[in-house]
Symmetry: C2
Subunit: 174 residues, 2 copies
């Protein structure tokens, strides 16, 4: 990880440290890279455990294991993601034989997903891995001085007033 370069002798302006920059909403890119780093790192754990696992399976599997059958939209709401994301994850899980899908007799539009025997067994097998990942997550959060709360606060700030709104206010002549 490179460090800030300081000012050059010639006096030429030095570009911001892109990795730590807030400029131009560069934090978005940083978060993405960090996200992918964590996903990759976690996936090494699954590989070492001898299983094929997609990170996006986590939320859906957990919900189905604990709550039983749920419709696409219910899952999307519970997880805070879009329904097409759930649909895509469902396709992947179905392909792996971990969940099954059926119509809801009470509403022909609904697609209800439920864990299969294979899926339940898979989840049981992964419990120790998830337990370890839980613990590591808490370690890291502690070492980072509670990054989860900082993210909470950032999201709250964006909920209160979006980047777009803030820029609009700044750029509106008063």
């Amino acid at each position: 990880m490179h460090k800030s370069k300081g000012t050059r002798r010639s006096g030429v302006p030095v570009p911001s440290d892109y990795n730590r920059s807030l400029g131009g909403a560069a934090i978005g890119a940083r978060l993405r890279r960090l996200s992918e780093r964590i996903d990759r790192d976690a996936n090494r754990v699954y590989q070492a455990a001898g299983v094929t696992f997609e990170q996006r399976w986590l939320g859906v599997l957990e919900q189905l294991v604990i709550c039983g059958p749920l419709a696409v939209n219910d899952l999307a709401k519970a997880l805070g993601i879009s329904h097409p994301s759930v649909s895509q994850t469902r396709d992947s899980l179905k392909k792996a034989g971990l969940i099954a899908e059926k119509a809801d007799p009470a509403d022909a539009r609904r697609r209800v997903l439920q864990i299969t025997r294979k899926g339940a067994s898979f989840a049981r097998k992964l419990q120790p891995v998830w337990s370890a990942l839980d613990q590591v997550g808490r370690q890291l959060n502690a070492e980072a001085g509670d990054v989860v709360t900082a993210l909470d606060r950032l999201e709250d700030a964006l909920d209160r007033r979006s980047i777009f709104q803030r820029v609009t206010i700044l750029r509106t002549p008063s």
Copy 2:
């Protein structure tokens, strides 16, 4: 944004609040979603300014504008991203006519990218937008209680010991 559900009357275990969870490295997914939220939000700013802009252009444009011509690898190092990412961004920027590419006479492998007149004009036009986004970024960081530093610390923690290493240690019988 939904809140934690608490325990149900029946005593059925309640799934973790996925959005705030550290379990199973779920923070990775959260970071990705937040990243995309920020990108989308910022893109509304560009749209309102009447320009087409891809978030991934930011780092590359800034480096080329300030430092002058740079090779793919130099850009990758400076931005902390992979060279194929730079290649892809370059293709997109070239298509928009904002940069040009040439070989390096000193090393036939190198591809040197440089800003075009159109690109320089484009960057000048965007200066006020970037300035506003800078300011908004600082606002948000302040409201979030310095999320940038929390991210620094998380990355440092991962540099010190990866998730994989931490899980391996936890799961190794002592």
